[in-house]
Amino acid sequence: MDTEITLRVDGAAHPLTVDTRTTLLDALRERLRNTSPKKGCDHGQCGACTVLLDGRRVNSCLVLAVTVGDAEVTTSNGLATDGQPHPLHRSFVRRDAFQCGYCTPGQICSAAGVLEEARAGWPSAVTADLTAAVELTDTEIRERMSGNLCRCAAYAHIVPAVADVAAAEGVRR
């Protein structure tokens, strides 16, 4: 069954027709041809499709497009402002935190989500003190970024790429 929706993506509103079965990922990639988020499994197992939904990271392959409503969808491409790359874009390139680049927009959206979660004081499975402010140590970054698979295995470069921005933003010493 088709239905009319409006998706707000990277600051612009897009009226479009979707099947009620259409995922947010397919709405972006197949209908709007916004291919910044990638498809690596379609089952919530790899993280390549990660986008921010009102600032929180989600696997867009697990979200039905008709449920998005007027939430703001942000892709990695949308993290750039006024044509200027986001600090995570710069740090991922500087640290060579990818090879094929296919998992990368998802890694970057996820990292943006991690920074926000740390600022908000959300603990992770490896946080020792649940009452203290969260600091994004290497161990914290590894844990929090583990929902994003990288078959090129750039992990050891992803950690410093996220850490650089975390330090600049005050969630890491």
């Binding site: 099947d19 990639r29 690596g40 990695s76 995570l88 990818f98 094929c100 680049g101 927009p105 994003n148």
Partner: protein, 696 residues
């Protein structure tokens, strides 16, 4: 012409980096075919072996939005020259579970996927034969193994030498089937214009895919264009054509529209190949000083009933260590499995797990440090071909790695170090990979303003080709990086072999260097200035290095790891590792580090997690997605120290560059298993090192 500093070797940031981080570099499906895209979804066999007895597509055909259902009854006929699993939808016979038996084209992906359920298929199933065992009576010796290596090699009297050796090791090692699983799923988007086909495709070499499409549809090179500027990983599974490329083209022809086929992750476990499981018996004989007198490495592995793929698993054993008496063999079982294919360092990866584990066992038996044991068996020449090395720096890699890791003073005893509930150990293993050059053509043009265009059908599957090849070109042309525009990833560009076998940059780079030399000579003859309407030169390399017969050409490396095993749960952690490589010239220090790191971590992943489990009765790969087939994730990877030696090799190719795509994975799993043994005293000879194995 101005003289500028060489940019080769510099750690220049990826040229394609800014586009990739934003997600704007267009991978296969993300390119614009110039018209609306229709979607193809697959119906796959649910049996392993037998025949389709009834196939009723009517419910699917009646679904609104469905454009066509392709079946063996109505699919276009393909050339009879196609082999293995490529003659898709050409017969009612079923050879493996997951074989494509029908395909649905629809206006949207949702409609196509749902309509798959409307294709009814019935089968006459036969009992499949899928279990690999070393005592199968039907094992056979293939005519040769992959990459043109001899099936067996026998020198001297191995059995005699083993029977008189002061010390022996006799052990059998097993590696499971594994799947490449690049994160970009295999995808092909096809469009026909009259009798000409364009395929936007995820592959490791457009010319390779073009060749099979030409065969399939009886087309000329001018009628088939394969475009692949950005590819989301491959690791071997995207090297050769698989059924999906042919299906996409076939469906596009039937419906007269652009069709995309994105395989699902699950489909990638049957339709794009896998690494064969192996059973490897290694026997070593040595004198009391640890000098090897005999090496025997006998490999049993599988292939598909419909295709012979003979992985060259024991070939690394032919070059690693000196010993007067030596034997390597490969035997295959033909099973009802999908065709295996190449996966990162096919041969060396499983083979060196066995050999380097056996060397560790020998070191323990002798009470000799495993680094020292390897150094004592360093061969001055290639021990089987009896030719000199073009360069070989294994001993230096071992010594440098030991130094960087802090190996000195290591207690040889296993199972004696604890840290709370963790058992702690360290392990070492060596690595090697052949260095080869392949045919590659190249075209370089300069316009009247001194801007250079370099065209060659190379690939960047994450390997850094966009950047490293631009550096090579800039140096060879004696100009700055900004003056060179590179074009790769398109079968219309001059011929080159794909990214595979660590031959990419060695071949493409050599072609670029030689073509650039020709262009510069022409320019000099014209007084150093390009003519106003520019100049174009075609060049390249014809094939292997002319010195390949006289020298044995290989890169080498050494891995050192710390392994911790939780005595309560059996969980295995690798908190730190050191790898040192000697691979000739390094074209880009930044992207090379990522190549080495990625290779090593894939070996770590193989050691800890990777195993495609086959159901013995039904034959399919049971854990066929990323929730069931585990690969290393961020939290699995600790501190990894990657470095390389300065090594000059004048013989391998024009750049002295040995290729680095595979060596990182070779030996990595053995280092981890050796460290596991040192931590726990338990020798695990069958990968992966899952927690249950600690308790058996």
């Amino acid at each position: 012409m101005t003289t500028i500093d060489r940019v080769l070797g510099a750690g220049i940031e990826r040229i394609d980096g800014p586009a990739k981080v934003r997600g704007s570099a267009p991978y296969a499906f993300e390119q614009d075919p110039g018209e609306p895209i229709t979607h193809l979804a697959l119906v796959q066999s649910t049996i392993n072996r037998g025949r389709i007895t009834r196939l009723d597509p009517s419910a699917a055909e009646a679904t609104p939005g469905v454009l066509a259902v392709l079946t063996p009854a109505n699919a276009p006929r393909l050339s009879g020259e196609l082999t293995a699993d490529l003659p898709v939808l050409q017969s009612l016979d079923v050879h493996y579970q997951g074989q494509v038996v029908a395909a649905v084209v629809a206006e949207t992906s949702e409609i196509a996927r749902a309509a798959v359920g409307g294709v009814r298929v019935e089968y006459a199933a036969e009992e499949p034969d899928v279990t690999l065992r070393a005592d199968r009576p039907d094992l056979y010796a293939p005519a040769q193994v992959m990459a043109g290596f001899a099936t067996d090699s026998v020198i001297g009297d191995v059995d005699g030498a083993l029977s008189t050796a002061a010390v022996t090791v006799d052990a059998t090692y097993e590696t499971p089937a594994q799947h490449n699983n690049p994160i970009e799923m295999h995808t092909s988007m096809a469009r026909w214009d009259g009798d000409s086909l364009t395929l936007w495709d995820a592959n490791q070499g457009p010319h390779t895919i073009q060749r099979d499409l030409m065969t399939a549809f009886g087309l000329t090179a001018g009628q088939v264009r394969v475009i692949s500027p950005y590819v989301g990983g491959g690791f071997g599974s995207k090297a050769f054509a698989h059924p999906h490329q042919i299906l996409a083209a076939m469906a596009a022809r039937v419906v007269g529209r652009t069709v995309v086929l994105e395989l699902t992750r699950q489909q990638m476990f049957s339709l794009v190949g896998h690494r064969t499981p192996t059973i490897q018996r290694v026997r070593l004989g040595a004198d009391s000083e640890g000098r090897l007198t005999a090496i025997s490495h006998e490999v049993v592995e599988h292939t598909a009933r419909i295709a012979e793929f003979a992985e060259q698993t024991a070939t690394a054993t032919r070059v690693m260590y000196a010993a007067p008496h030596r034997r390597t063999t490969h035997r295959l079982a033909r099973l009802d499995v999908p065709p295996p294919t190449i996966m990162r360092a096919p041969g060396e990866t499983p083979g060196m797990f066995a050999l380097e584990s056996a060397m560790d066992e020998l070191a323990h038996t002798l009470g000799i440090d495993p680094v020292e044991l390897r150094i004592r068996n360093e061969p001055p020449r290639d021990p089987e071909r009896d030719v000199p090395w073009s360069s070989r720096s294994l001993v230096e890699c071992l010594r440098t790695g030991a130094e960087r890791f802090g190996w000195a003073g290591r207690d040889l005893r296993p199972g004696v170090r604890t840290d709370g509930r963790w058992l702690v150990g360290t392990g070492v293993a060596a690595a090697t990979y052949p260095s080869r050059r392949r045919k590659a053509d190249c075209r370089i043009s300069v316009d009247g303003r001194g801007r250079y265009l370099v065209e060659i059908d190379g690939s960047d599957i994450g390997t850094g080709t966009w950047t490293a090849l631009t550096q090579i070109a800039a140096d060879a042309l004696h100009v700055g990086l900004g003056e060179v525009e590179l074009r790769i990833g398109d079968s219309r560009l001059p011929f080159a072999g794909g990214a595979g076998g660590s031959t990419g940059l060695a071949s493409w780079g050599s072609a670029v260097v030689l073509t650039a030399r020709q262009l510069r000579a022409r320019l000099e003859s014209l007084g150093g200035q390009p003519p106003p309407d520019g100049l174009t030169v075609d060049g390249g390399v014809p094939g292997p290095s002319p010195h390949a017969e006289q020298y044995s050409m290989h890169s080498f490396g050494a891995h050192f790891v710390e392994v911790r095993v939780d005595a309560d749960t059996g969980e295995v952690r690798v908190p730190r590792a050191t790898s040192v490589y000697a691979a000739g010239t390094i074209a880009n220090a930044t992207t090379a580090r990522s190549q080495f790191l990625g290779g090593f971590c894939m070996g770590l992943s193989m050691a800890l997690h990777e195993e495609s489990l086959q159901d013995e009765h039904f034959g399919h790969f049971v854990n066929h997605d990323l929730a069931g087939y585990h690969i290393a994730t961020n939290a699995d990877v600790g501190e990894i120290d990657i470095s390389w030696l300065d090594e000059e090799d004048p013989w391998v190719n024009e750049l002295g560059l040995k290729g680095i795509g595979e060596i990182g994975i070779v030996g990595a799993a053995a280092a981890v298993a050796n460290g596991y043994w040192h931590a726990t005293g338990r020798r695990i000879r069958d990968l992966p090192l899952t927690p249950d194995k600690f308790f058996r």
